[in-house]
Subunit: 444 residues, 2 copies
């Protein structure tokens, strides 16, 4: 079989860009995640791109150089945009067609012309010579609460008598987050100020948060949207998902605990949310789909509008997620970041399709570029907890760093690093790239 | 004193557009609210405008015809934009300067040239010949909960043992709403489907909401934004407010009751929010500022970051608000809408400045065009309740319509109409125009 007959996910494919063939690379030719970049100089307009090994490929350039001439005009035009929104809006088919074409241009053994090969080479840049920007203009950001382990753990801490509320196993609980304060990996995060109240104090005080936390989440971007008033059926939901990224939903636990009743988290969350810059498409993740969460005996069956055989069979994703922590003292002594948890997206109680369908079930319109996030992903074991709140049990059992420092919550100078990847026998590893952020001291 | 020496709020000013001098007009020359319109034909691009009497004045046309030549180039450019965001972003001073100029062009007795007068006449259109569009591209929408009467009334219904939570008098409680589903007055609203659970049922069911409600609110648009990580002090907060509109925060009470814990309202609210098309500037409302809410004895003093002498002295607004209801049967029999409540924005526990400052107190960045809403405005009396939930006490005491029909919540075909205006001895009445929406049956 020739390379040009192979599916873009075929593990036998190799790229003529050597770094993409390193088995440890997040970005083999089977991945081709989309992003938005600008040259480090700051000159020039942002352009959309894909990652391949340690390079990025400029898609506006590809269009301008005629490398995408075989694709529909709308796809070509979307490749010249300043963000991924236009491509997202075209729906899954467009992204699939573009990915097939790019895979063809980048693989070994494709009967591409020498001329095209030369053009592509000119449009590659070392990833460390560009700035990666947020991949889309995010209209609305919705954060779910899809990990039953997380919901139970947090429930125990905040409502010991009533950890998991009666609606949890029926409703994919979610709430609207703040779009304006979503930042891309690498952006420092300022410790927020806010009101908090010590348990036995008579009144709250305003000051810097004393319990700043991260939340390890997976995000997914809406592709084609729906019209206001038109729900999305569970069987069509995945057509509305463009791809996935990593999300750190920074949380100030003291602010959150004091404010969150009755309308939910607000200033405890909306000071910053960090996303990874690369959007890994559902196409690239296809080999890693797994059955939906296995509900415990006695758990209710999902209501029909969020229940489909296909989604139950393949709605989960076997995506490994790691959170690591690095203090200033660790970096000063060149000590590597400490892994504090390893979880897996397959542990989510609700699938992405269930979240999308529930979100639009009342007719709420989703728009291309909207971001949904899973909520903190925790597993059932002590080493798979997706937040410090859970790991330290709200400060009752701090973790120890290699320097001898301890952490119940984040200190100034701490860096939080998320990694995510899929791997499976017989398939090429697909990585997400990192999602990083470090904590700046509160403003005086 | 000549007209050109008079302040734009001076009640002695008259416009050469007769309809603006009708004492019942919402849009006298002292108002000049901003909006966005497009010709009913649908031809041409949207343009920003002001309302004057029964006309609208095209501001892009004013700029192109040189009528704004004396203004700063940035203001002129903002007048050519497709939405108000650019003007909002310039801050209060820009809107003030533009308003002064427009007042000059529209008033009687201003020594404007005959040529200018003729140009302005050409740029006026009858308001009923244009479509009014949402005034801004709304990045983020935040809904507060600033009426202590509403919070107490709702609290009694949902948590009889614990109506007003301990944080209420310290924290201007708010949550993020949905930006995508904000629609402009006149857009029909589809009855949403969703999960609800009858009190003694073992499981929820999915179906059309049985308790669709309105919420009578006031919205305010962010003008100049703040950078991420940079809070806004209470004394600068009003510099970040561009102007006000009316808001109907449609709510499906059955969906909301089942879903809202622990993360707040989601599908119970995000299917639609209706806003009035005109943004009344803080400048126009200046004569109607009143002291902030008089806290009861024993209530805590606001924490210092949301407490300022100036805001306490003039942070309230004497804005009268009315909600009316019209059923299909009433319209069939030409019966006028029934007024179901009359409230006043001065009854809010928190001022707009307190809401803005609290919102940004953790460094959250506000952007020009962001919308904040007050939350349902209810007063202390039975005739000033801002939602059917409160009026009918969750269905326990339905209201009677002139046709003999009763309403606990909204029925299909019902139209909800909000009106708002300021009036005060010695000042010209300032109106908001209406905010209307009617209920379409649930989709099959």
């Amino acid at each position: 079989m020739n390379s040009h007959e192979m599916h873009p996910n075929d593990p036998r494919l190799h790229s003529w860009i050597d770094s993409a063939n390193d088995p440890k690379s997040d970005f083999p030719i089977q991945n081709l995640p989309f992003g938005v970049f600008r040259h480090v100089s700051g000159h020039g307009q942002p352009a959309i791109c894909v990652a391949i090994g340690d390079r990025i490929l400029d898609l506006r350039g590809c269009q301008q150089d005629g490398l995408l001439d075989d694709l529909a005009p709308a796809i070509q035009e979307a490749c010249t945009a300043l963000s991924l929104n236009a491509l997202m809006a075209l729906g899954r088919g467009a992204a699939t067609a573009l990915r097939v074409r790019l895979s063809g241009l980048l693989r070994i053994g494709q009967p591409t012309t020498r001329e095209n090969h030369r053009k592509v080479e000119q449009l590659l840049t070392a990833a460390d010579e560009v700035m990666l920007l947020p991949p889309a203009v995010i209209g609305d950001y919705t954060d779910f609460y899809a990990s039953v382990h997380h919901a139970t753990n947090v429930g125990k801490l905040f409502r010991p008598d009533n950890p998991l509320l009666p609606n949890y196993k029926y409703v994919p609980i979610g709430y609207h987050g703040r779009a304006s304060s979503i930042v891309v990996s690498g952006t420092p995060v300022r410790r927020p100020g806010g009101q908090s109240k010590i348990a036995d104090a008579t009144a709250p005080l305003f000051g810097p948060s004393n319990s700043l936390d991260y939340e390890l989440e997976v995000g997914f971007f809406v592709g084609r949207g729906n019209k206001l008033g038109h729900p999305i059926s569970i069987d069509r939901a995945s057509e509305h998902i463009f791809g996935l990224c990593l999300v750190n939903d920074w949380s100030a636990r003291d602010l959150q605990a004091w404010e969150y009743q009755p309308l939910g988290p607000f200033v405890g969350k909306n000071f910053a949310t960090t996303i990874s810059p690369w959007v890994v498409t559902l196409d690239a993740l296809e080999p890693f789909r797994v059955p939906a969460f296995q509900r415990a005996e006695g758990d209710p069956t999902p209501l029909p509008y969020i229940n489909s055989r296909e989604d139950q069979a393949l709605g989960g994703l076997d995506l490994i997620l790691e959170a690591s922590l690095s203090s200033q003292a660790m970096r000063d002594r060149a000590i590597a970041p400490l892994r504090v948890s390893r979880g897996n997206m397959r542990d989510l109680y609700w699938t992405m399709a269930q979240m999308v369908t529930h979100h639009a079930s009342n007719g709420c319109n989703l728009r291309a570029g909207d971001l949904m996030a899973s909520g903190t992903i925790s597993g059932s074991t002590a080493d798979s907890l997706g937040s410090l709140l859970e790991i330290s049990r709200r400060g009752a059992s701090p973790i120890q760093l290699p320097t001898g420092e301890t952490r119940s919550f984040l200190e100034d100078g701490d860096e939080v690093i998320f990694e995510g990847w899929c791997e499976r026998e017989g398939h090429t590893r697909i990585g997400f790239g990192g999602c990083r952020g470090s904590v700046l001291p509160a403003r005086k």
